[in-house]
């Protein structure tokens, strides 16, 4: 086996180890599930700025930025989801709902994000940032 082949295999092995390390970090990065819904706050952001903070309970938060960017965030007793969005890709709708059962296992964890409209919804548990 020549040096170049050895070097390439070493680099490939490093890349695989790095990938495994990242996967492990993601899998191990879990917060303890809470069953008490009083510790939950739904925070709606426009960009980096807090637009609204509410507890769980049936209501719809309307984010109308006046430039055609409109989002409707539906908050229920045990979950939150994006009910309507004016964006093209509708990714925020496809992200589904966040609830006490899935907020730490979803791919986006406690977040629902509408990038085109710059609206983010955080299902904040226990005052987590």
């Amino acid at each position: 086996m020549n040096k170049q082949t050895t070097r390439r295999r070493f680099i490939a092995a490093l890349a695989v180890l790095a990938a495994l390390g990242v996967v492990a970090a993601v899998v191990l990065h879990k917060r303890q599930a809470l069953s008490n819904k009083d510790d939950v706050e739904v925070i709606v952001y426009i960009g980096n700025r807090v637009y609204s903070r509410v507890g769980l309970g049936e209501q719809t938060i309307v984010v109308d930025q006046g430039s055609g960017a409109v989002n409707h965030v539906r908050v229920l007793a045990d979950r939150v989801y994006m009910e309507h969005a004016s964006c093209n890709n509708q990714d925020c709708i496809k992200q589904g709902e966040v609830s006490l059962d899935n907020y730490n296992t979803r791919p986006l964890y406690e977040w629902i994000v509408c990038l085109p409209n710059q609206v983010s919804v955080q299902f904040s548990v226990g005052g987590a940032p």
């Binding site: 952001y45 990714d91 977040w111 990038l115 085109p116 710059q118």
Partner: protein
Amino acid sequence: MSAKRVARFGMLTAVALVLGYLEHLVPIAPGMPGVKLGLGNMVVLYALYITGKKSATLLMLLKVGLSALLFGASPIMLFISFGGGLCSLLMMMGARELLKVPIVVVSILGAVAHVAGQLAVVALLEITPWSFVLGYLPILAVSAVATGTLTGVVGKYLLKALRIAAHKDEPDDQT
């Protein structure tokens, strides 16, 4: 620039646009921003190896701009795509010329740089809170490693087959 090179560049642009549209039609992770196969980026990778840096740069710019125009992306999404494309291209150039690693590693590094660039734009333009960006980065990085490996492996065999077919064309950057 010869007519042959103009035609080849036009075809590469068209292929990149079509592949970008196809991966939009068949999402691998519906709803997850930034997680995609990166088929269009495979064309940029190919261009970097076959037609040269200048052509690859122009191809990346056209791919980002024309995709936004054709598929109705918002200005925010255009900036995000541009940031990702630029970081990816610079990383691939550096990896190829300075690190001299194999094409598969170039592709992986390019994919990871792509998602890092996208998230950097999201953070700098304050599109979302920082806590989302930091939490989402590892997830995007994992998906980038996977898709970068796939496009790198395909790119490797594609280059081999096309170089044999074209008898190793000289880069477009050299007249």
